[in-house]
Symmetry: C2
Subunit: 357 residues, 2 copies
Amino acid sequence: MSHLIAVLPGDGIGPEIMEQATRVLTALGLPLELETAPVGGAAYDLHGHPLPPETLALAKRAKAVLFGAVGDWKYDKLPREHRPEQAILGLRKALGLFANLRPAILYPELANASSLKPEVVSGLDILILRELTGDIYFGQPRGMRTAEDGPFKGEREGFDTMRYAETEIRRIAHIGFQAAMKRGKKLCSVDKANVLETSQFWRDLVIEVAKDYPEVELSHMYVDNAAMQLVRAPREFDVIVTGNLFGDILSDEAAMLTGSIGMLPSASLNESGQGLYEPSHGSAPDIAGQGLANPLATILSAAMLLRYSLNEEAAAARIEAAVRKVLADGLRTADIYEPGTHKVSTGQMGDAVLAAL
Amino acid sequence: MSHLIAVLPGDGIGPEIMEQATRVLTALGLPLELETAPVGGAAYDLHGHPLPPETLALAKRAKAVLFGAVGDWKYDKLPREHRPEQAILGLRKALGLFANLRPAILYPELANASSLKPEVVSGLDILILRELTGDIYFGQPRGMRTAEDGPFKGEREGFDTMRYAETEIRRIAHIGFQAAMKRGKKLCSVDKANVLETSQFWRDLVIEVAKDYPEVELSHMYVDNAAMQLVRAPREFDVIVTGNLFGDILSDEAAMLTGSIGMLPSASLNESGQGLYEPSHGSAPDIAGQGLANPLATILSAAMLLRYSLNEEAAAARIEAAVRKVLADGLRTADIYEPGTHKVSTGQMGDAVLAAL
Ligand SMILES: CC(C)[C@H](C(=O)O)[C@@H](O)C(=O)O
Ligand SMILES: CC(C)[C@H](C(=O)O)[C@@H](O)C(=O)O
């Protein structure tokens, strides 16, 4: 019996990086069935919606989704519900992908790529765990209203609701502690409990869940301080767990510390192990179609897919070893190129990983 | 006629850094009347409240407030309304201090202090303008409730309201454009308009206000991207304007880029030029009372006070020149010390600035 994988290339560099990732997946000789569907702006152009019903149905049916990237300037003028990003929000919600794992790893070969000093970042290996289906992203009510009191009474105001229910906090906290147990046994929960009610509730529950994991050293940090400490001494962290909004900001900041966001995969999982896997970088429409894109984040996302949704640890490790080999061999796409290394195109990088498998 | 300045030293290193700043202010020979009052944990210990009515009344009466820092671990267990941070939130709200100016400047003498490579940060000079009285900090309703629908129906949930009314956005946008006009004429407005209604409203209004400032080059950036670009290439920014929550995170991140947060002042202004001035760093209870604290951020905050609330540009510039002189002379408190420079205590740094005036 083969496993169904939904392949959603998307926009910009999405199709070209996805091509390399699917070549790698196919080469492993596993019983996989890859089915491709349009998503994002590409889907809007074809079907008038960034997440057409057929694409959503495929994603639901599949064991896992391999996602490229979505977005392009040309869709910026569309009403929000038709913009490419809605596809990704829609998939997260529809599939219940509440746990977003974003490793920020600095490969020794790429230590120079970082804008931080080598003595601050070399060997960086942290995991940001972001809650992905709650918080202010989906909270109701939201919209425009007339201010009812206070100094701006009678004026138009825009508003959104931040919120977290008990189960949502507990389940992501458990994932955080479990991830820490498999790594350095340190978990830092990030919130803004000195100001927000949602955060105070978050913190209280994380402290409760911690009782189940006496071996994990738990700390709490305000989000403003976390944004600072990531710049100052990022290696002090092991696993960071935080809400959807703070996680959006901190995971991107952490990724950029490595200077090589073209290398970083991500996984978004639901309660039954179904997952969506995508590179941490965006769709980069400015370089699309020129063979400049780095396919490694997508290839490494495919490795995460094998590990988390198919339980194929050996195959995942094979891909990761192949990626390390091509880096060690000095192959670099334009985004991570430096003098003394060998610049290759998107396709050549894919070839090299295949050869190294 | 003399100008009343409220001096609120606060907790931790607050009193010792404030002592140096008031020495500097007094030495200028201006008609200033300095009146001191307790705030934060120190005020809670004395009067059972972090912002006692007398302190608030003094702050309201004064032309400007010079604020040290508040907070200490020992107050962490208090209910939120009695914690030291409430003093600062209360002052902002009561005085209507909606415009928070936080420069992130890397002094050439301190280029090494940064965790970023010198070629990425040297000469950094950006201004983060943070809206300070709106957003999710004060939005109603907030608290605990029972989830009314969705998958967590019937559960306890914590919630907060993000919100901005039209006037609040327009006035901070104007300050942003005006600040940009006095600097590099580039304004970057940071929001999360791809997800939040509040942000979409913010963006629409900033675009409207921009029509009054045709010379300023306006850009928009999502907050996650801004957190990345600050790490990647911070000098691309001139002025950043953003809401209270995103500004909290990004201004701290930007401050840390310099590696010398002990050097960075801040100003929080209301519509009538009244202001609160404070260092960007915290109360650092761990080093309090040991003469280790860097008083320069507070001294530079006093300079901002003279500039913005008293219109004493010459006196402000005199302080700033004196600070540059002591740095050039190689004097350093422990936080910015490096081999080859001369380590001094908090008081000695104050002496040196006074001598350089
Ligand atoms: C595109 C956007 C809605 C999305 C988010 O904010 O979650 C993106 O920034 C991400 O992190 O995947
Ligand atoms: C102490 C806290 C409430 C405050 C804030 O979040 O505004 C602080 O972080 C700041 O930036 O001044």
